[in-house]
């Protein structure tokens, strides 16, 4: 019998306490029992206890004693039955009988009481106890996903009051089912029902225990909660139901249980009154859900434009360095002056409020100056990544209707003015123009996001959102002139909005990270150390690689704040980081955000505690922002229940550029008074303390052989594996559909797919086990640093479950070893003069190759070496001349 089976015993037991005017003579009781045992042999083994209680019957201590007796399961071995007479100090007595439900029904309990007290049961004859129960089999009582229970409290239970409810038992059951379906999104509304004479009930997460109140006896329907969440209701003389909501604390949190009970009570009364729509949350519940999901108000912050906020900082500290890069160093005054000049030139070309200026420049001083210039001109900027395919760049500009594009090199397009930064700087003063200023409500930038389906769409963010974002976090994060920020991300990814304006609106120094450095964790680490960077923004995938690099060096970092965003975080990756960078010295904040709501929405400071708990919390809404979790009809779902995350408040975008229908679909007015909301398409659940758990994308559910599978769930299970550091899972629909998994080994030890698969088998049902598991050195990342599922290699066929062998380090010179490493990296033989990039090499492959070379004991090569010498012969020469 396991621990839970021992708990099951109490679950399966019920009991009654029958009030007696005085203690009967025990001899009489025994004689009564002996007589009955003549007819019912099973009663022979019943032992009757008689005990004095030191307090009057009405005393609270007597009540506690009675309750303890009623909830004390009989011995596991034995008749499954116990009878105790309690004699109270003031004369009256009580007979408490507890039995396994399979041994005696409630009528049986009453009958036995009659037998023992000689008063005859209602049935008039002794009850017939069934044989002792077989040890209970745990038929899979499930832990509700929405329960938010605390696993550390396994084996404990607790209760909150239920009722009085003016409804029938049947209505209570129906109400429980309706309420449950709000928690499960309609997936599950099966509610167990246990009545007084039932030996057992269907196992379910939620169940109703219905009891009849009978005069002169107290009834305890189960010595421990029968269902993980048990609504026990007893019909009272006045016709109402009254009872308790009892729950296992490891399955359900008290905050959830009490609300669940209240909702059921209310729904039952509505049903009783003949009202439909019992699934509608009531005004009070909605008010609470919305209030808890809202961040603090943004006090004392007046809407402003990005450039006005910048100019204020620049005026206060003109000589402070604003920008550091390989190309230039600019102080605030110089940056302001250059941008001002360019802004006037842009105005001369027609830029101004309502206009959109495309910007497609390599990251550098020119790019920051240009972005600021566009804002100063009154127009909004449309950032584009120079590394995007030319076709996409052209389409973006056309889609957006940008008439001016600032670029060094851009595909020609009809009706567009293409201008280079130098042209703007060289424009004669005469060509400059003053013009109307942008207001805080005017667009500041338009960022195109691709999303998982459909063509990319431009998200239009007004000026005021960005200063509001800084106002929301600046105090808490203590952002200020002492800070040094990296500019790591592409301007076309809104994480850079945070990096650039977060730094420049708080007076910090922005350190430009060249593209190739952003792809080379070791180089990037060196940059962080050299530049004494204090504020670092990363996607979790990129940060995982940086942590790896960090563990291998002794270089000391000055980073005091790490902002993680852009992707779900597996807190586990932080273990190594925390070991070297305790949270007291470097704070790690996980932020959930979306382009449509201005970079960030929530913030969760991650410490060892979150790591140990494997928390999926992304924290509460930022001041000025709101979150709510809703069902497909837009109704807020209860705390704990999963639904779609809606975001409102200071960060909501103006909409999608030239896409009124899509805008109307995704940006909605809250019928509950929360203003304009963005429907994120992300799954989440709101906790009663206002923190949001992020549960992945709504559209990450796939259908495989009739099963609904949450890809994030499979990925989460993989990442739980001690041998796995990172993982990706995709649905492969070529041929026989299956799941393909990709894993990055956690440590120097091998990650053996067959073993990983074996361990997965213990956590996941068969249909969720990936068909292939491929070991990779790293997951491919998008330009934005997120896992790029499109660039995952084909699964290593057949060998999918076989481990890759370490690179051979034969003593035949570096070239021979490199040929082998390249061959394995590309999956095909290569020659000494094959060009890395022509072979299809990318930065990720380069990192993998240089890692393999390091492991094989070959000299170090950097990503830069790859770009300069893309052949094995060239690299070897570079290595030997060094």
């Amino acid at each position: 019998m396991s621990n839970s089976a021992a708990g099951d015993l109490a679950r399966m037991c019920h009991g009654i306490a029958v009030r007696l005017p005085r203690m009967p003579e025990m001899e009489e009781v025994r004689a009564n029992l002996a007589r009955a045992a003549g007819q019912v042999p099973a009663l022979k083994s019943l032992r009757v206890w008689a005990e004095p209680v030191a307090f009057p019957a009405g005393d609270a201590r007597s009540a506690r004693r009675r309750a303890t007796e009623l909830r004390r399961a009989p011995a596991p071995e034995g008749p499954g039955l116990r009878a105790v007479f309690l004699e109270y100090a003031d004369g009256p007595a009580e007979l408490v009988i507890v039995a396994h439900r399979a041994v005696l029904t409630r009528d049986g309990l009453r009958g036995l009481a009659g037998v023992l007290t000689g008063s005859g049961g209602p049935a008039g004859e002794p009850p017939t106890p069934a044989g002792p129960p077989a040890p209970a089999q745990d038929a899979g009582a499930r832990t509700p996903a929405w329960g938010l229970g605390d696993p550390a409290r396994a084996g404990r239970h607790s209760a909150v009051a239920l009722g009085p409810v003016r409804a029938s038992g049947e209505e209570l059951v129906r109400a429980a089912s309706l309420v449950l379906s709000r928690y499960t999104g309609g997936e599950d509304d099966a509610v167990g029902v246990l009545r007084d004479d039932d030996a057992e009930a269907e196992r379910a997460c939620v169940g109703v225990v219905l009891s009849e109140r009978r005069a002169g006896e107290e009834y305890e329907p189960c010595a421990a909660p029968y269902f993980p969440l048990t609504l026990w209701a007893e019909r009272q003389e006045d016709g109402t139901l009254r009872g308790e909501c009892r729950f296992d604390e490891d399955a359900v949190a008290p905050e959830i249980a009490s609300r669940f009970a209240r909702q059921v009570a209310r729904a039952a009364e509505r049903l009783a009154a003949g009202l439909p729509g019992a699934v509608e949350p009531d005004a009070e519940e909605i008010a609470e859900l919305l209030a808890v999901g809202a961040g603090a108000p943004l006090a004392g912050h007046a809407p402003t434009t990005i450039h006005a906020a910048f100019e204020k900082v620049a005026a206060a500290r003109p000589g402070a360095v604003a920008y550091t890069g390989e190309d230039a160093t600019l102080d605030y005054a110089e940056l302001d002056r250059r941008a001002e000049r360019r802004a006037r030139a842009l105005r001369g070309l027609g830029a101004g409020p309502g206009e959109l200026v495309g910007v497609c420049l390599e990251r550098g001083a020119d790019l920051v100056v240009t972005l600021l210039a566009v804002l100063k001109s009154g127009a909004a900027y449309l950032p584009m990544d120079v590394r995007h395919p030319r076709e996409r760049l052209r389409a973006t500009v056309e889609d957006a209707g940008a008439r001016i594009v600032v670029a060094e090199d851009f595909p020609p397009a009809e009706g567009r003015t293409l201008v280079r930064p130098a042209d703007l700087d060289a424009a004669p003063e005469a060509g400059h123009a003053d013009g109307p200023q942008a207001s805080p409500d005017d667009p500041a930038y338009v960022i195109f996001t691709s999303g998982s389906t459909g063509r990319p769409k431009g998200v239009v963010i007004p000026h005021r959102n960005v200063p509001a974002l800084l106002a929301a976090v600046a105090d808490d994060m203590r952002l200020g002139p002492e800070d040094v920020w990296t500019w790591f991300h592409s301007a076309a990814f809104d994480f850079s909005v945070w990096e650039i304006w977060g730094c420049l609106l708080t007076g910090g120094r922005l350190v430009m990270t060249p593209y190739w450095v952003s792809r080379a964790p070791h180089e990037f680490h060196r940059l962080l150390a050299e530049q004494r960077v204090t504020v670092l923004s990363q996607t979790p995938s990129a940060f995982a690689q940086l942590i790896h690099a960090d563990a291998g060096t002794s270089a000391d970092l000055a980073v005091r704040l790490v902002i993680l965003g852009g992707e779900p975080l597996d807190v586990r990756i932080l273990k190594e980081w925390f070991a070297d960078h305790p949270p007291a010295r470097c704070r790690v904040v996980n932020m959930f955000g979306i382009t449509e709501t201005t970079v960030h929405v929530t913030a969760q400071t991650v410490t060892a505690r979150e790591m140990v708990e494997r928390s999926r919390s992304v924290g509460g809404a930022l001041p000025g922002w709101t979150v709510s979790v809703r069902d497909p009809e837009g109704r807020p779902v209860p705390f704990g229940a999963a639904g779609e995350i809606y975001v409102g408040g200071a960060g909501v975008a103006l909409g999608y550029l030239n896409r009124p229908e899509l805008t109307a679909e995704r940006f909605v007015d809250d019928p509950y008074g929360g203003g304009r909301l963005y429907r994120s398409g992300d799954r989440g659940r709101l906790r009663p303390d206002g923190r949001l758990d992020h549960l992945g994308r709504l559209d990450n559910q796939v259908q495989l052989r009739g099963f609904r599978i949450e890809l994030d769930e499979v990925r989460a299970a993989l990442v739980e594996d001690p041998a796995v550091r990172a993982a990706a899972v995709v649905l492969n629909e070529e041929g026989d559909p299956r799941l393909d998994a990709y894993v990055v080994p956690a440590g120097p030890g091998p990650a053996v797919p067959a073993e990983i698969r074996g361990r997965l088998g213990r956590i996941l049902p068969d249909y969720m086990i990936p068909g292939t598991i491929t070991v990779l050195d790293d997951l491919p990342l998008t330009v934005n640093g997120k896992v790029d599922t499109a660039r995952l290699p084909a699964p290593s066929a057949g060998a999918a479950l076989v481990e890759e062998e370490p690179a051979p380090a034969r003593g035949e010179g570096p070239a021979a070893a490199m040929l082998e490493i390249w061959r394995r990296a590309f999956g095909a033989p290569v020659s000494l003069d094959d060009d890395f990039f022509e072979l299809g090499g990318n930065s990720l492959l380069a990192i993998r190759i240089s890692a393999a070379m390091r492991e094989a004991g070959l000299p170090q090569i950097t990503l830069r070496d790859f770009y300069l010498n893309p052949t094995i012969r060239g690299l070897e020469a570079a290595m030997t001349t060094r």
């Binding site: 019998m1 621990n3 206890w49 004095p52 004693r65 303890t68 596991p76 116990r82 105790v84």
Partner: protein
Amino acid sequence: MRLSGKTALITGAARGLGRACALRFAEEGADLALFDLGGDIDEVPYPLGGADQLEHTAELCRKLGAAVVTATGDIRSQESVARAVEAATDRFGRIDVLVNNAGIVAPSGKDLHEVDEREWAVMLDVNLTGAWRMTKAVVPGMLPRRSGSIINVASTAGLVGYRRFAGYVASKHGLIGLTRAAALDYAPLKIRVNAICPGSVRDDPLVDGRMLVEIARALDVPVQEHEGTFAQGQPANELVEPDDIAAAALWLAGDDSRRVTGAVITVDGGYTVR
């Protein structure tokens, strides 16, 4: 209440430290199965716990609100032990805490070559083997629940020597050995086994204490001044109180000590660290 919902079986509960523990546990909401000899042992030169004393302990505990069952028997008898455990399980369904407290301090007061076979055997049979017997009977009921706390009341005589007490010292050293071994046996099953080593405890009339006076007799210390004499031997110049032992037992019985097993806890006013 720190022990509400728990059931404890306490041996040697008729008086002394056993009674002190029972009262403290009852105050904290435990229900109790109390076990004692209800008679005397020929070789032991002083009266042991009587049935009336055991009933009195039970009465005091009931006044505190506890449900109590009592059982009399000799811990040297396998059958008595089994009967006591059965009575407790019948009544309460389970035993969460076992306090192996029953013990004797004499026959003593002799150098070991003067101790005879019977005297030696009875000392070990009660103080050491008795605890083993009771543990063996109780553990099977704890196993399926993966929880339980076993508390062995040893003595400073389990840690240091005392002249003219070879049998007692050997039995209490043995009990500490038993504690450590059992702690390892049951650690994976989450059953904890710990020992308490009381120093010289004042004979409190409220619990009918008489151990110290019997030690004094064995050592020919004048009975009128024995408390002062023993107190002078203590670093703090004072004796331990029965409540001090009960407090340690309460902590070991409850969930506050859930990660404590195999511990040997001295409650001796510093006697053994001089």
